[in-house]
């Protein structure tokens, strides 16, 4: 058999899952969609003594509107987010990004809580959490607490969770904007991004009133570019806006070279995607 031996629990309530994980004394792992964990188990790179399978916990699977936010349960599958009319209407950048999340069979199984916890620096959902300024509700033996996305992602494949913590739901504040775009390039469609950018803007009478920008594939975590957001709102809007935006974006990142692409190429790619994304976002508002 591929994975090493483990004890398996499949609780049907969140409380039972919290107890089972705590009882594992730091030797436990949570199994959500399994699309990142199962490869690690198959290679025996991860050998947890206890596996707590969350898939039977119905209360963790939902998408709902609450006030000015959309709340998504941690066990909600990528497929459900991709095809949700509520997400399409309220979080259009997320909706557009979802078809880039891995491949069909992975989207059918993978979950938002799992993807965020895995914290891959070139995965769409961590980037979207940064982009929207999401808040992750986490439950441990001591109770619940909210963690801001920018605190949550510590490093590549590293989050700030304790060994007994479970992500239960994620709150995405809705942006009251009127132009947006999501751009990504990967070696093969559905693979992890070489570079990607998300942008959303609100046009006013004299220019852009509010802007949101996040990028990935160019650092150890996804990045929100708040300084660039300010620059967008301070400048005028004309035919050269996409080009200026592209320069601001590329001058604020310092990507690394790796097997898949050189630092220069990633930077160039991000600049081109930024220009295209700003053009699209501006065009959406007539």
């Amino acid at each position: 058999m591929k994975p090493a031996r483990f004890e398996y629990f499949a609780p049907t309530t969140l409380d039972a899952a919290v107890q089972a994980l705590a009882a594992a004394n730091g030797e436990g792992k949570l199994l959500a969609g399994g699309q990142s964990l199962l490869p690690l188990l198959n290679f025996r790179m991860a050998r947890p003594a206890v596996l707590v399978d969350l898939n039977g916990i119905r209360e963790l699977s939902f998408i709902e509107l609450r006030g000015d936010s959309v709340l998504i349960g941690a066990l909600t599958r990528h497929r459900e987010i991709e095809h949700s009319p509520l997400i399409a209407a309220r979080l259009p950048v997320m909706s557009a990004a979802m078809r880039h999340v891995a491949h069909l069979a992975i989207r059918n199984r993978g979950t938002i809580g799992g993807s965020l916890s895995h914290a891959d620096p070139a995965a769409e959902l961590p980037m979207l959490a940064m982009f929207y300024g999401a808040s992750l509700m986490v439950q441990g033996p001591a109770g619940r607490r909210a963690i801001a996305a920018k605190e949550f992602f510590v490093d590549a494949l590293t989050n700030c969770l304790g060994p007994d913590d479970i992500v239960v739901e994620i709150e995405f504040p809705i942006l009251q904007h009127d132009g947006w775009a999501f751009e990504e390039v990967a070696r093969r469609f559905g693979d992890f991004a070489l570079a990607s950018i998300a942008i959303s803007i609100r046009r006013g009478l004299s220019g852009i009133e509010d802007a949101r920008v996040a990028v990935m594939g160019v650092a150890d975590t996804p990045l929100r570019l708040e300084a660039v957001e300010k620059q967008i709102c301070e400048g005028k809007v004309d035919g050269r806006t996409p080009e200026r935006f592209s320069e601001w974006v590329t001058s604020s990142v310092t990507p690394n070279s790796d097997l898949h692409a050189s630092a220069e190429y990633r930077k160039h790619l991000l600049g081109q995607l930024a220009k295209r994304a700003m053009g699209t976002a501006l065009a959406l508002k007539g």
């Binding site: 058999m1 483990f6 399994g34 199962l38 198959n42 491949h103 069909l104 069979a105 992975i106 559905g190």
Partner: protein, 159 residues
């Protein structure tokens, strides 16, 4: 630690006891149930050869534990059609020469079934995006895309 797994595979119910939780669904289908149509390639979710339908949705059988399939309905390539009566997608794979060695074919077919159900597949770009999680080392994909394009057109005519 072993568990019982009750699963319906291709409309036949199987109640299996003594299943280790670490047994993968792909190995359960092949070794325990003897359904060797589901092929095992990379065993870490990259090649797509082991794709099956679980409650109607395509999943990697190598990234699913057999115990997680408890209570579900699985469809493998053996459940699509028979050699005498191939289903629409299988027929188009034959018509368009969408296979050579046949190793990736079960995964291609199961992915294709899910794609046909979920997406309009109006353009080749959409078909290629949909197939991006399945590797074929023989065909160069051209004929697989052609087979799915044709199956999508037939589905539209009959819709």
């Amino acid at each position: 630690m072993t568990m019982n797994v009750s699963v319906t595979v291709n409309e036949t119910r199987h109640d299996v006891s003594g299943v280790e939780p670490r047994l993968l669904l792909s190995d359960f289908l092949r070794d325990t149930l003897g359904l060797t149509g589901t092929h095992v390639g990379c065993e870490h979710g990259v090649c797509g050869a082991c794709t099956v339908l679980m409650d109607g949705h395509s999943v990697r059988a190598c990234l699913t534990l057999a115990v997680q399939a408890n209570g579900s309905e699985i469809t493998t390539v053996e459940g699509l059609g028979t050699p005498e009566t191939l289903n629409v997608l299988q027929t188009q794979f034959r018509e368009h020469h969408g296979l050579q060695c046949g190793f990736c074919t079960p995964g291609m077919l199961m992915t294709g079934m899910d794609l046909l159900r979920k997406y309009p597949l109006a353009t080749d770009e959409e078909i290629r995006e949909g197939l991006s999680g399945n590797l074929c080392r023989c065909t160069g994909y051209q004929n697989i895309v052609a087979a799915i394009r044709s199956a999508a057109a037939i589905s539209r005519e009959h819709a």
